[in-house]
């Protein structure tokens, strides 16, 4: 081991000055050039939806020149997020992020979208940040720049910059605030005459009302209703249940919606509501459901907030990792071991897609999915189920190219106490999961909501 370290150390002591010399030469060349003209940086397309890829290209560099490509985004919360990759130009003086390999930075290898998905808060930022766009009527602006050299690139002014706009809303998508029959939320409607298939879209606890996924789904052809459901204190579980049924019916009865093509998409706590509604409602029948980071824990007769209170009684059993980040996974596993605590998913009769991360440290979502599979199998309904389980992915499975959050600040609903919750996942694997799962979610929705023969369970 020591021998290896010695060899590696020797190699580094040889290559490092060489690299520095190379950087200096290129830097001198570039300085001379910049008296004339700088390199040309382009991002194509410069305006795109967040789930679309782009190509980042640098031209007019000296050949064989070490450069760093850097992305920078200032969030709505005024935090700065960045990503960067170290590259070397070819004999034509070109760097193509789609074709070339990054040799270091926040991502390595051939990663056309690495400048987005590997973003993290700049050094010195507050801890536990999460990047979420609240105003989806404007694009996310990402500044992409190219700097000379690798080490210490931040100390040098960029050679060239370009701005990329990343949109959640396609042109023509309409946004409508809903406050109807006691139900609150935001509705997104695709452009065109309609009518359209539709989705009830629910996020998890602690997030507030998030609209970006609904905006994106509308951009992909679905009327999507982002439901605000944790703002109220309900008197009973029945009343709360009716809230969700009413929300579903508001969508179903909307003039732009095809009434028998309404599905539910829920993540985390939202996935529990999806299971609950689909299993127990006698008045609404979703065409299909998608559960991201599946959760079926719902002690009978409890409201969501009451259920959360029960959950919080187990927090003392939570495991804290080496960074003091709180994981609920292990005590949650115990809780769901008792089937009386859980939604009877065996009652579900529509197609289901479950999307989970194998490194989910917040909730035993993979185990939940296995349990769902077992219960459906018992009822002869396993053909209704599709499961995606991604190794190395965590709890917060977002649209593609979103940065990965392994742990973030979280306000415990009842106590207002702030902790840092461990969601899990390793960035590269998690990002791959986000990209792959989104495509598969859209494909599943297209099949069941756009043109499906009706799938009936064998009862």
């Amino acid at each position: 081991m020591r021998g290896f370290r010695f060899i590696r150390g020797t190699m580094w002591s040889v290559t490092r000055p060489l690299l520095q010399e190379c950087t200096l030469t290129c830097y001198r060349l570039l300085s001379a050039m910049t008296q004339a003209v700088p390199p040309i940086l382009s991002v194509t397309p410069s305006r795109a939806l967040v789930d679309e890829k782009f190509q980042v290209l640098v031209e007019n560099l000296p050949p064989g020149c070490p450069v760093t490509l850097c992305s920078l985004h200032r969030s709505e919360d005024k935090d700065d997020w960045e990503a960067y990759g170290h590259y070397v130009s070819d004999h034509r003086g070109v760097v193509s992020v789609s074709e070339d390999l990054s040799f270091g930075g926040t991502y390595t290898g051939k990663e056309p979208m690495g400048l987005l998905w590997s973003m993290r808060p700049v050094p010195g930022s507050r801890k536990g940040l999460r990047l979420r766009k609240i105003n989806v009527c404007t694009p996310m602006l990402v500044n992409i720049s190219v700097h000379s050299g690798h080490e210490g690139f931040r100390d040098r002014t960029p050679l060239a910059s370009a701005l990329a706009e990343r949109w959640y809303m396609a042109p023509g998508v309409k946004r409508i605030d809903i406050n109807k029959q006691g139900v609150q939320g935001t509705l997104y409607i695709p452009p065109g005459p309609g009518p359209f298939p539709a989705l009830l879209d629910m996020w998890g606890g602690g997030a507030g009302l998030l609209e970006y996924r609904s905006a994106l789904l509308a951009s992909r052809g679905y009327v999507s209703f982002s439901l605000d459901y944790l703002w109220s204190e309900y008197l009973s579980a029945d009343v709360e249940f009716k809230y969700f049924e009413t929300a579903f019916n508001i969508i179903r009865n909307h003039s732009q919606v095809i009434p028998d093509r309404v599905g539910i998409l829920g993540s985390s706590l939202g996935s529990m509501v999806a299971f609950d509604l689909t299993a127990y409602s006698t008045i609404i029948k979703p065409r299909c459901i998608v559960c991201i980071s599946s959760n079926h824990y719902h002690p009978p007769g409890t409201t969501l907030k009451a259920g959360f209170k029960i959950l919080s009684k187990h927090f003392h059993k939570a495991h804290f990792d080496e960074n003091n980040h709180m994981s609920w996974r292990s005590f949650a596993l115990d809780l769901i071991a008792d089937p009386s605590n859980n939604v009877e998913v065996g009652r579900i009769n529509c197609p289901m897609l479950l999307v989970n991360g194998c490194d989910d440290q917040n909730w035993p979502t993979v185990e939940t999915a296995e349990e769902v599979a077992r219960l459906l199998r018992e009822g002869g309904k396993e053909h209704l189920l599709s499961r995606l389980a991604y190794p190395g992915a965590g709890h917060l499975i977002e649209p593609p190219f979103s940065p990965h959050f392994r742990a973030t600040k979280f306000i415990i609903l009842n106590s207002k106490e702030k902790v840092i919750l461990l969601w899990g996942g390793h960035t590269k694997a998690h990002s791959d999961a986000q990209e792959d799962s989104w495509r598969k979610i859209l494909s599943f929705l297209q099949l069941h909501l756009y043109h499906s023969p009706s799938v009936k369970a064998n009862l």
Binding site: T34, A36, V37, P38, I40, L41, S42, T44, P45, S46, R47, A48, L49, E52, L57, E59, N60, R92, G93, V94, S96, L141, N143, S145, T157, P158, L159, A160, S161, A162, L163, A164, E165, W167, A170, P171, G172, P191, G192, P193, P195, P197, S219, G221, I258, P259, D260, R261, Q446, Y450, H451
Partner: protein, 435 residues
């Protein structure tokens, strides 16, 4: 619910693009073999509506891809990925002589693309489409900054790319149309050139005196551009269209102050009094007003005013003295200007002077006078009021739509490569492969 209605999915990628970028229009989940019409509708800033459409048949998978499948008939036919844009024309019943030109380039051109059941040719307003999307087409890339550069006479629109620079500079001159055109300068800035659109028709001087500005006006513009901290002093080019060509050649050849790295001349001529003032050059072309012809539709044809190309060297800009590369773009069906004849004469003059290695001529059969950025709808004739004339009259510009549109697409790519090579150095046209 009608299954057909639910099925058909229409998508356009990218939904937000630059004016010169291609898009892919895709129809999916249609009934295999079904007949469908794909239509584009655009409402101009002046309130007029323009449309284009193509008739298609869905394949066995129920798909239509405009970059692969042919339109059987419509405002365009054949495999035409961008046909829905370049074949746009005013909807039936519109007043004649319309031309599409965007004034406000801070906002995009919005086009609604829809798919209809069957092969429809008219009455679209009364039909309900199966599906529709909205597409944005921008002249300005994100990050391009547009502002007014203060000049001696009046502020000029200036477009600066994002980044530290310095950037090569461009002076952009349109023709005598009377309306300042900024869109080309904005689009060129989106490709990395610090571009100034020079309004030489509506200057304070012209409004007050009724006379054209002189060389000093353009030389001041050049100086102001040079002095901008983010512009490369020694890499400035000029691009002139129609009468703008006359000014470009005059400055390139005769100005002591303006030293161009390159010049692009579109649909113009070198026939003008040697070293005449701009006013004199303008008067020269009006002198032969008697040579104006009229088409059978009573459209004014201007091209003969400068013909025949004189042999007298005092009547032609001395292109043999040019010291920078020159790109000439010619529509062979140009009815306004004898651009083709002029180009041939320029070639001869430069061959004799020994500087023809500087010249590139791009000559397009059946293209007309109005060679605009790609996918701009072709205007064969329109209502036009030129400087010094009181009324709008129908002018014939020429060109056949298909060939003219191909010319615009090809010309633009080549203009960008030419500018890149001469202003940035190096030959790496990879950047334009998506155009």
């Amino acid at each position: 619910m009608d299954r057909k209605q639910c099925c058909v999915k229409l998508s356009v990628q990218p939904s937000r693009g630059l004016m010169d970028e291609k898009f892919i229009v895709l129809v999916q989940n249609a009934l295999p073999g079904s007949q469908l019409t794909i239509r584009a509708l655009h409402q101009c800033e002046d309130g007029h509506s323009w449309e284009a459409f193509g008739h298609y048949t869905a394949d066995t998978t129920g798909t239509i891809n405009l970059s692969e499948d042919p339109s059987i008939r419509g405002t365009y036919s054949g495999v035409e990925q961008m046909g829905l844009l370049w074949s746009l024309r005013p909807i039936p019943g519109s007043k004649p002589g319309l031309r599409m030109r965007k004034k406000n380039i801070q906002t995009p051109m919005e086009v609604t693309i829809s798919v209809y059941q069957g092969h429809q040719t008219e009455g679209f307003a009364d039909l309900v489409p199966l599906s529709g999307v909205v597409v944005e087409r921008w002249y300005m890339a994100p990050g391009v900054r547009g502002f007014q550069l203060q000049k001696v006479d009046s502020p000029q629109p200036f477009f600066l790319p994002l980044g530290p620079g310095p950037f090569p500079g461009l002076l952009d001159l349109y023709g005598l149309g009377g309306q300042l055109v900024e869109y080309r300068a904005a689009l060129l800035a989106s490709h990395g050139f610090a571009s100034m659109a020079i309004d030489y028709v509506n200057s304070k001087f012209t409004i007050e005196t009724g006379k054209m500005v002189d060389s000093q006006y353009f030389e001041t513009a050049y100086r102001v551009l040079q002095q901008h901290p983010q512009v490369c002093k020694s890499r400035i080019a000029m691009i002139g269209f129609s009468f703008g060509t006359s000014i470009t050649l005059k400055m390139a050849i005769y100005s002591e102050i303006i030293k161009l790295s390159a010049a692009v001349c579109i649909s113009g001529s070198h026939v003008q009094p040697v070293d005449g003032s701009v006013e004199e050059i303008l008067r020269f072309s009006y002198k032969n007003a008697g040579k104006t012809r009229f088409s059978e539709k009573d459209e004014k044809i201007w091209r003969d005013q400068l013909l025949p190309i004189p042999t007298d060297p005092s009547l032609k800009a001395d292109v043999g003295r040019l010291q920078c590369p020159l790109l000439l773009l010619v529509g062979e069906d140009d009815q306004s200007c004898p651009a083709q004849e002029s180009a041939l004469d320029i070639k001869e003059m430069m061959a004799q002077a020994g500087n023809s290695h500087l010249l590139t001529v791009l000559s397009y059969p059946n293209a007309g006078h109005l060679i605009e950025p790609p996918y701009t709808p072709h205007t064969r004739s329109s209502n036009f009021r030129t400087t010094g004339m009181p009324e709008k009259v129908m002018y014939l510009w020429g060109g056949q739509t298909v060939e003219h549109s191909r010319a615009q697409e090809d010309a633009w790519k080549k203009i960008l490569v030419f500018l890149r090579e001469n202003l940035y150095g190096g030959r790496n046209p990879t950047l334009f492969s998506h155009l």
